[in-house]
Symmetry: C2
Subunit: 157 residues, 2 copies
Amino acid sequence: AKPKVGYFYTKKKQSDMIEESLNRFLVRDYQSKPVVVKENETVYDAIGKMFLEDIGTLFVEDEKGQLAGVLSRKDLLRASMGNQDLNNIPVHIIMTRMPNLSVCTPEDSLLSAANTMMEKQVDGLAVVERREDSLKVIGRITKTNVIKAFVGIVKQE
Amino acid sequence: AKPKVGYFYTKKKQSDMIEESLNRFLVRDYQSKPVVVKENETVYDAIGKMFLEDIGTLFVEDEKGQLAGVLSRKDLLRASMGNQDLNNIPVHIIMTRMPNLSVCTPEDSLLSAANTMMEKQVDGLAVVERREDSLKVIGRITKTNVIKAFVGIVKQE
C-alpha cells in the first residue's frame, strides 16, 4: 500500500518541510546592493554615506577594488566617541578587517547566511565573488533581507 | 472517501503550514530583557550603556517609569556627529518619542512583531504592558530574536 503521508503529520515532518522551504532561498535572490567606501576615505565621510544610504553596514575596498574590511554602525559610533577629528581618521584604522570578516556567496542559502550572522553577531554580511586570492564585493545581505524573505513565505500564495 | 491530503502538497499548503508554525511563536517566549535609561540621563551615558550591554536599542522612561521614548544606534550616531558636548544633552532631546513609537505586547506573535519592524524600519520594539493611559516596558524584541526563532524551527527536532 502507498504510505499515507498526509495522515501522519508530526512536528518533525513539519520542521523538515520548513527547512526544505528555507533552503530554497538563496542569497543571490535576496541580496541588496553593496555600499562601498575606499580604505583612505575618512570616518566622517563614511558616517555621512551610512546616513545617506540609510544602511547599517559599509564595505571597505582597497585600491585594487578588493574587499579589505567592514564598518558597522557600532564601529562608527565607537570612533565618534573617541574625541578625535573624524575628518582626519581614515576608515582602515577603525574597520574590522580581513581575515576577521564573515562573508557569504550568492549561492549560499539564506539560512546559512542567517546562521553566520547569528554566530558572528553581525548585522550584515558581504556577498563576495572569489577572484584568485582576493574577494570582490558584489552584494550585501542583512538581518532585514532575511526577515523579509522568511515573512514573505507566509504572505506569498 | 477521505481526502488524500498528503498526496497533494502544493506550494500554498506548505506556506500555510509554515504560517501556522510561525504564528505559534509568541513574543513573550522570545523577548530579551529591556535596557532602560531615564529621560534626563545624558547622551554620553546612554552610548556607554549601549556598548556595555552590547545592544542596539535602548528604551527611555520618564520619572514615573512610563515608556517615553526609544534610542537607536542611529539616533546616537547622529547626535554624536553634531559637534555638541554629549555630556550636556539629555536623551529626551534626541530620542524618538511617544506616540511615534512602535511597540508590541507579550501576547503578539513574533510574526506580527517582525512585520512591524519591517514596516517601521526599526531594529527592535519595546514589549509593553498597558497600564491605564501609559505603557510600562517589560521586554525587548529585536531582529536577532526573530531570526533565532525562525532558524530554530529547522534546528529543533
